[in-house]
């Protein structure tokens, strides 16, 4: 009973003592207050989650067809060529995005906190957050225009520079499609990661930087020995977020290429979507979902372990 808040309120309602049925009865208004959210969560969150676990063991078309097949879906995943391609696409994509979406905002944030003028720091932050007002879907549509083979910004730009030989059907070629997708939204900073890292850098006390510069540390040394170690938590968080976003969000792939050409831009989440909504294989889709869930959980735990372990050293 170290938290006075709970003591006094429970005292006010007199529900902290007595036999269980009595305490339940006295708390009836509290349960009533929680009834709506708990019902919503049980119905729309917990039920589908368990349904996914359960139905991954069944052949299921989302309707009447419901046949128990045990772990067959998981075995099928092991030998599914599409899934293997999708997985390797995803790994490459995620690694690239994690690096890009950490390095880019880090350097932008580093520039900004290095400014003497607080007013400019503030405005640069606003300026780089600004692209956030563009709806996500428009990012994809604008980049589809950039990669357009006939009148795209990229090809037109190359022609303007006299590099006609390098113009390309960026999204139409299996060799470049994944790279094109990896660079979607490219110079735009990932808002969330940028704000997290900027927040981290801003908490480093001025004295630390001052004493470093007195000791003769230049920009790069300071970066390496002060700023990166001191924002390790924020950097890890930014990386985990990018990783989780990129693993489960497939609207990018759906809008830009729908997995094509061939399977060159297929990713597991998109395969899940297609299994369920194009082929009505809800059981198989659930199995893919379970595998993704376990994978993401494992990666998050490993990532947190590694970073907290490193921080403890």
């Amino acid at each position: 009973m170290f938290r006075s808040a709970t003591r006094s309120s429970s005292h006010a309602l007199g529900i902290s003592r007595g036999p269980l049925p009595l305490r339940l009865w006295r708390a009836k208004w509290l349960y009533l207050a929680l009834l709506v959210p708990v019902t919503l969560l049980l119905l729309f969150e917990w039920l589908p989650a368990f349904s996914a676990l359960y139905n991954s063991l069944y052949i299921w078309n989302g309707g009447k067809v419901h046949i128990y097949v045990g772990l067959e879906h998981y075995e099928r995943l092991l030998s599914d060529r599409t899934f293997r391609v999708a997985l390797s696409n995803l790994v490459g994509f995620v690694i690239f995005r994690v690096v890009m979406q950490t390095v880019l905002p880090f350097f932008a944030a580093e520039m900004i906190i290095n400014l003497r003028s607080a007013r400019w720091s503030y405005w640069w932050k606003i300026i780089f957050v600004f692209p956030m007002v563009v709806p996500t879907i428009l990012n994809y549509l604008i980049w589809r225009f950039i990669y357009n083979p006939q009148v795209g910004l990229l090809n037109e730009g190359l022609e303007l520079l006299g590099l006609d030989a390098y113009t390309h059907a960026w999204l139409g070629d299996p060799l470049t499609a994944m790279w094109a997708l990896a660079f979607v939204r490219f110079p735009w900073l990932p808002t969330l990661q940028f704000l997290i890292i900027l927040g981290g850098l801003q908490t480093i006390p001025h004295e630390v930087h001052e004493s470093a510069s007195i000791d003769g540390a230049g920009f790069w040394r300071r970066l390496l020995y002060i700023d990166i170690p001191m924002t390790r938590r924020q950097i890890t968080l930014a990386m985990i977020l990018t990783m989780l976003f990129m693993t489960q969000r497939f609207d990018l792939f759906l809008v830009m290429t729908d997995g094509g050409p061939g399977y060159s831009t297929m990713v597991p989440a998109l395969q899940l979507f297609q299994s369920a909504f194009s082929f009505l294989e809800f059981g198989y889709a659930s199995a893919i979902g379970v595998v993704l869930f376990v994978g993401m959980l494992a990666l998050t735990v490993i990532n947190l372990r590694v970073s907290s372990g490193a921080a403890a050293d």
């Binding site: 339940l24 989302g62 520039m111 563009v134």
Partner: protein, 278 residues
Amino acid sequence: MRKRLRYSLGNRDLPFQVVLVCFGIVTFFPLVLVVITSLKSNTQFYHNFWLPELPFQLGNYSSAFRIIWRYIVNSVLYSGTTICLIAAIASVAGYVFARFRFPFKTVIFLAFITLIMVPGVLTLAPRFVLVRDLGMVNTPLALISVWVSGGLVLSTWLMRSYFESLPQELFDAAYVDGAAEWQVFTYVSVPLARPMIATVAMTTLIGTWNDLIWPLVTITDKSKMPLAQGLMQFSSAYETDWGTLFAGYVISSIPLLCVFAVAMRQFISGLTSGAVKA
């Protein structure tokens, strides 16, 4: 001496400013080009890709608006309803979790909080079946119910932390003055929690405004589509009419732009606290 110092201070920022300006230009270039192109006819666009050209085709905007406005209205209604519901439910639930002890509190709270680890892809397909069996497909209810329950996880947690941080003396004073619990909630706690409610609202707004996949599987009627889904329709219908297409893009960025202009601080804090739910 003073002169030299000032000089060196000004100079110190210069390299960073130069890099930032270059970066800013590259960032805004695609957006500027979209605005420029939205003022052109197709002939003007094919003739001159880069530069704005007179006369400006303002007609692009009116023909785009005739299609886009409905999607924007839909999105405002759906997101608005979701925000109000989440704000109301999460404040009450957060307050209950923060201020009371009751049997099974921990279990119930865990039922909220563990959902942070459950990704949307896992639940997508079974949730669709559920919503379909409940007869909610192609109704706004399909979107709102799922958005509310999904948003509650983080919002309740945020509200609970906020209410826990309020000092006990505040509540004691209210109790001493003879306030009933609901009065303490409505007249003391909620007004104090306004910044956190704004943050919750902003997180919800950004999440629902940009959600594409869930409407894609549940809404089929064009007149009921939210903005993200409507834009996809719009972009395939006007695929080669570049001026109108980009005018539509500009129009559909305006609502969030207004929110950003009015409530920049909440916008940014809403984003950052959204980080907790991955």
